[in-house]
Subunit: 337 residues, 4 copies
């Protein structure tokens, strides 16, 4: 058997379980040796199902294990930065779900700890690993569509999250559009200099009462002069809608939705085809697996993960700029450090 990376998982919730199963069954280079969750029952259940030897309530126990080389942080957002700092201090590589934190100083502390320890950090921008978006990036990078001039992203959830989540989410820009900010930078391979946001609460007034919006459009200006427009909705009744278009001087690349089947029904009044896959776990199933492969490969081969600390920070800076733009109704420069 080839070399393996010993991995410890913090957080046995939905996303943690997905990563765990992928590592266990489909990433030969990884060995999932430990799991921790404040809800110990969750940790135990997962440990039993996947035969994970070490199972703890306190994640600090995982950091003490010498044989654990990397930590997967899948706990709640407010714990991410601190866990990165602690993991880096004991020399462990880190995969952390996005966002690193909602406050820039916390992110800076985490990145500083990572830099000082010389460990690897990958942030969970799973969409970069989606086969369609990855191919789109490769096509742009190869020059196939010439110089990019316009970017369009439509990113819409099938239904709003629970209100309890909305309250702590950081708001639509930091919780939802953050993925699109990262996608925008990834697809064009350059930074956004300024952005401008418009937003409204059109779906559920309760979201507005929490101080958040549920519908938004943002204009991006890129370093090269290219322009972008992102739209977000918390509720697309027909399912999880994730489309992008990069338009350039020699053509464009357009990515459509994935559907559960390829069936079309012709009836007297219309042709009916499948709506998009309803949920992000199905839509990005391959992407979640591919990002684990990437993380483990980077560790095995000593390479930097493609979605690193800066990507984790700049996307939050963009989210904060969008919030400020929404408040001031004008373009806001995106900070560069």
């Amino acid at each position: 058997m080839v070399k393996q990376v010993n991995i410890g998982l913090i957080g046995a919730g939905r996303i943690g379980r997905i990563h765990a199963r992928n590592l266990k069954f489909q990433v030969p280079g990884a060995k999932l040796v430990a799991v921790a969750d404040v809800v110990i029952a969750s940790a135990k259940k997962l440990a039993e199902e996947l035969e994970i030897p070490i199972c703890e309530q306190d994640y600090h126990r995982l950091l003490e294990h010498k044989e654990i080389e990397a930590i997967l942080i899948c706990s709640s957002t407010d714990t991410h930065a601190q866990m990165i700092v602690e993991s880096a201090k004991v020399g462990k590589h880190v995969f952390c779900e996005k966002p690193i934190a909602l406050e820039i100083d916390k992110i800076d502390q985490a990145l500083a700890a990572v830099a000082k320890a010389g460990v690897k950090l990958q942030v969970g921008f799973n969409r970069r690993f989606d086969p369609s978006f990855k191919k789109a990036r490769e096509l742009v990078e190869s020059g196939r569509i010439g110089t990019p001039q316009l970017l369009r992203i439509s990113s819409r959830d099938p239904q709003p999250p629970p209100l309890d989540y909305v309250k702590v989410s950081g708001g639509l820009f930091l919780d939802m559009m953050i993925h699109d900010f990262d996608m925008a930078r990834y697809l064009l391979g350059e930074e956004v200099t300024e952005l401008m946001a418009a937003g409204n609460c059109l779906i559920d007034p309760s979201i507005g009462k929490c101080g958040d919006i549920d519908t938004a459009v943002v204009i991006l200006k890129f370093e090269s002069g290219a322009l972008g427009a992102i739209d977000n909705s918390r509720q697309a009744i027909y399912g999880y809608d994730q489309r992008i278009e990069v338009f350039g001087s020699k053509g464009s690349v357009v990515v459509g939705n994935k559907t559960p089947t390829e069936v079309m029904v012709h009836s007297a009044d219309s042709i009916h085809s499948d709506t998009p896959l309803f949920f992000f776990l199905e839509r990005y199933q391959e992407a979640y697996l591919a990002e684990m492969h990437h993380f483990v490969n980077c560790l095995l081969e000593g390479k930097e993960p493609s979605a690193g600390g800066w990507d984790g920070k700049i996307s939050v800076l963009m989210g904060l700029a969008a919030q400020e733009s929404l408040a001031k109704a004008t373009f806001i420069k995106v900070k560069k450090s």
Copy 2:
């Protein structure tokens, strides 16, 4: 034979000839009895081809003819408003190509003359009569997609106009996006309160030297709170790209491009299908015919044309607001009168 409207055409250029042929061959309710063009040779050629009895160099001759009931203004933009005023004064109905004028006071004078004379005025927003966009509007109006929340319009030309035209066009917002401003209002059936523009010269620096842009993104805020995003490019290498999407609480309506054939070629590396129809005359062939039908029907039945004077004015107000927004990098309120 049924009742017919006697029509005189001013301007025997490209668009004038299209309307003339449609009226002659496919609109039984119309009788094209006169044509005028400062380039008399153009007028004569068209008169000969279509057996039009009256042919003049000076359009004033047409206004003197008692039997002419309606005037089609297809001359250059700077002449439109004056011709509307003169036509209205002698009691003739008017179809006028967009824009009515680039200056609001000229438009106001034209609309005042129309109102005073009690004649009908239709402005050439041909896209409203495109079967796909028309069906989209009907679906929105019928409530099929619930309350509209987001609008997306991509509108891209296959190639930039000649520089000589760019210089007198009024700029991208008043020459090109004006169609999309009208489409936005038409599709949602409500007014835009504010808009915000970003633009750049990315295709041809000569366009920039003329003081214009060739690439733009505009955010719209509608009265209802719905948000919109329009993107324009002066050059889509794959052809004339005209797509819209209205997204609402119960679903969305999406309009794609028309292609010359329904052929798909499967080869070893990819499936190849047709790019969109290359030119607006082909793309909107049915729409040009349908708008003539509408105009003639309105005259025969004494109804107001659906694309009237206010539509002609507000779209220019929106274009001016977009220019101001581009200069000031902030949202600009759209004037309401």
Copy 3:
């Protein structure tokens, strides 16, 4: 004005009127100077509408007019062959709707008369002039898909013809699939050596009582060894369904249906798109115009029409072979003369 061909039309029914309007308004090289119909009222109405100078009940009057250079035969099938013979004898070129006749000896007499007179004959296989099918043929001919190996044609009507028509139609193979037999030969550019038919009456028992079928599948063997399958139905509830696929050693070319709009509606349960154009007159509108252009061009330039006498004959031979195959449940060789 350029050179024009003077044309006389026999038959002012549905298809005759379409050709007449196309010639009048959109084929500059043609001058429609005469119309004849046994129902003189039909002839008169069309003559009035299109300002056709000569209007007759007896088509023989048209044959006597020296200035008429070509005859369009759009009368009922049983009159075609005789009219071709008579037209050829007086040196007039002929466009004849398909089929030339349902009996081979009548066809032979017509073709002999045409050959003896040295006039041109075009048969109304309009689908060859459809932009999509024409492009498919060009792609096959160019070698783009390599050597053709399989052909698939689905050709389905939106609803069965009236029973009165079914009785005199010659049956599904000679009335409906005859178009697909021609399309098969046209697309592959080679002859069919043998064919095998299966058919049934599944839609309307009354059709069966007339001795006809309403659903059929036919296998074709081509000279090159390529194989084909055609299916026909008299009733596709979703509209006029006309699709082909040519599969070869280097790829395939697939032609789909045309739809009235490009609108897609996303609702909670499915994505709805337009069914095909419902009727053949809409589906093949461009093809009907293009075949008139082709006919007139052939006359003006002295070229042979691409859908000629042999094409008219072999398609009937194939229809007869299909009838025999259906009766004998075995492959039947297609006669070659």
Copy 4:
């Protein structure tokens, strides 16, 4: 932990490994406890990878194990029937890859043994478990498209199998089209009474020298009178092409291909989209998993598998009928027992 079925696998080749991995990682109701392969190294490698306790060269050892409740037969075709007989005799349920055998008497012996022992038998018609085809069947069954009248299946491999395999495969009808015969019966839920085959060797003359064909079209007649057409090719240069269409009195259901991504590239000359997934293992990945779920569920719940012994036999009878039809160029009745 829930109830589990102990399973032994015979044959650790390509398809055996797929089933093994699916059972191990994704079918909680199954426990893969044994593997046997005449190439013991293959068995050992798989046993090590998946931690399978029992590993044998001689499959008879597996039959002796009391705790093994079901056998998966994934060895070469000529061994299937004998293994079914032996497994049934010792009271073990059987999942057997298709075909059961190429000779009807061997199949009969296997089915008799299964019936006598009262064990379950599932045959590996994996396509029945493909989400798209399954949905198509459900739509037909539900009456959504009315009474089925026409069936079309296109089934084309990306490249021919090795000649060594062609020689022992039983020929195209028994090796390849057998899947489509099963799909035809499955989709319409009724039997085929007669069929008619045409075939040719158009891709590789070496296949012809082995006495086989590489291109075929078959017409099916169903009990209800519905008609079907299947085409097969051993080489579709653009990938694995698997499409079906069921056309009925109230509409049709059409299943297209799956593609690796949803990317479309617009360039100056055409729009490029992905060719189908190239290989059957990728195309039917979900189907292979679903058929294992089905098999294990049937055992746990005491239900008959949906693709049973009769399905395994009738598809071979159809293949034999197709061979006879090809030789005699006439319709051949499909035997019913």
